[in-house]
């Protein structure tokens, strides 16, 4: 029922080695998925830290607008966000005539933009939640040391909140890794895109999507393991006593 020759034959395609080419000769497959994921997570985190500070700000206008942003991006499907950016923006002549157009007609760029805005929204809420639950003693200690507000944010509040955000953030990373699969729907050759290409070439459905599913499963386990290590390193002070 399942053609194992086909699986062995097509496995290299997921590592950028399509049709007799050596492995990694293109960035198709796993490399593309990790590239999209890495870029959007990094940019998303850079956006999320200042946004989280805005979200917990006492200025209602600032915290309200950050709330609106996270509410809209968390309340709509990532696929719709991607389609608005990739297909939608071409509706406006002003966009098509601007210098931005060379980027906005590129599926790879649009995918990273959509994924970044999406993960930044979730990450903002995760970090903001942890900033709010910072222990009052930490703030008091910082004030007693005579730290200014920004120094306290930089040295105490943000590092402490980021550590405590690790468990929730690990879920977000794994969700995001799986969400990058929609890149395959806008012509990109990520893991899912390669599987779809093999399906349309061979008309065999089980084999390519089984490989894709197995790769995602392994990636999920790797990320779970990595975050477990990170938690042992940075959250050791919150772990239950062992002796």
């Amino acid at each position: 029922m399942i053609d194992f020759h086909l699986i062995l034959d097509k496995l290299p395609a997921f590592l950028g080695g399509a049709d007799g080419q050596p492995l990694l000769s293109t960035s198709d497959g796993i490399v593309m998925t990790l590239e999209l994921l890495g870029a959007s997570l990094l940019l998303g985190m850079l956006l999320a830290i200042p946004l989280a500070l805005g979200r917990v700000s006492k200025n209602r206008l600032l915290s309200g607008s950050v709330w609106l942003y996270t509410y809209v991006f968390r309340g709509t499907p990532l696929l719709v966000q991607l389609f608005i950016i990739y297909y939608g923006l071409s509706q406006f002549d002003a966009v098509r005539e601007s210098w931005l157009w060379q980027y906005l007609q590129d599926a790879w760029f649009c995918a990273i933009l959509a994924f970044t805005l999406n993960t930044a929204a979730y990450t903002t809420e995760i970090i903001a939640g942890q900033i709010r639950t910072t222990h009052w003693g930490e703030i008091e200690a910082a004030r007693a040391m005579g730290m200014s507000k920004w120094l306290m944010m930089r040295r105490i509040v943000i590092p402490s909140a980021l550590r405590r955000a690790l468990p929730a953030y690990s879920n977000e990373v794994i969700m995001m890794m799986q969400s990058t699969a929609v890149a395959g729907l806008v012509t990109l050759a990520d893991i899912t895109g390669v599987a779809r290409r093999i399906y349309s070439d061979t008309y065999m459905a089980f084999e390519p999507f089984l490989i894709a599913g197995a790769i995602y499963l392994v990636l999920t386990f790797v990320f779970v393991w990595l975050f477990k290590q990170a938690e042992q390193r940075w959250l050791a002070y919150l772990a239950p006593r062992k002796h």
Partner: protein
């Protein structure tokens, strides 16, 4: 005219999306309850089976599951039908979508319900048994009403993720809101307006869900002392 008269078609699609989400939720709740019971069952094979289900399903993207189950099962049907010398039946995309989404989110519900059942003090169930109630009656009268409070936050989250995942079912040819939007996009040349409208529809669905489930959460938390923070 707004969107050249494509608005009713898109709204029709939104109704189908809602039906799809509701039917998938029903399947996922049933699978989740069964999965949670298996996970806490005394029998080792049942526990392993439930563990395998919730781990493997949650480790693979829903889009890949959709391709795998829809195209894969269709091909299997074709092979079986060819072997029997008859024409293969086409799978209905709605039923396929419901079963696929229900299967995926059943795994998330398994974790939700397992956590919630474990949060109910064991003495409650023991008290039920002491009154001579059978296991099913204990579940409906004692465990279930108390576990709802613990399950609701994560249930709400699963439902919101499920609603957003329905956007993917158009890839297997269901006439849902995304599918209609694609047709409207090609015919009106107004892709931004079309997909913004779709985004607003989803935002309305998620907002209303949030409000309703929030009310339910308060209803099931009556009599609970707040910590005063």
């Amino acid at each position: 005219m707004f969107l050249h008269g494509y608005l009713p078609s898109i709204l029709d699609g939104a109704v189908l999306t809602l039906k799809l989400a509701a039917a998938s939720l029903a399947v996922s709740v049933v699978l989740g309850l069964v999965g949670a019971m298996f996970k806490m069952a005394p029998s080792k094979p049942l526990r392993t089976l439930a563990e395998l289900y919730s781990t493997v399903v949650r480790g693979v993207p829903d889009l890949v599951w959709m391709f795998l189950l829809f195209f894969g099962v269709q091909m299997l049907l074709n092979d079986v039908a060819a072997a029997m010398g008859s024409a293969a039946p086409d799978i209905d995309p709605f039923i396929a979508g419901v079963l696929t989404l229900g299967f995926i989110f059943g795994a998330y519900m398994t974790e939700t319900f397992r956590g919630a059942i474990m949060a109910v003090p064991k003495g409650q169930m023991e008290a039920g048994a002491a009154y001579g109630m059978g296991p099913l009656r204990i579940f409906w009268r004692i465990t279930f009403p108390q576990m709802v409070r613990f399950a609701l936050p994560s249930f709400t989250n699963n439902w919101l993720v499920l609603v957003k995942s329905t956007a993917l079912v158009s890839v297997i040819g269901l006439n849902d809101v995304m599918y209609r939007a694609d047709a409207a996009k090609s015919n009106t040349q107004e892709p931004f307006t079309v997909y913004m409208l779709v985004a607003v529809i989803f935002l309305v669905i998620t907002s209303v869900s949030n409000i309703l489930l929030g009310m339910l959460e308060r209803r099931y938390s009556t009599g609970l002392k707040e910590n005063g923070l």
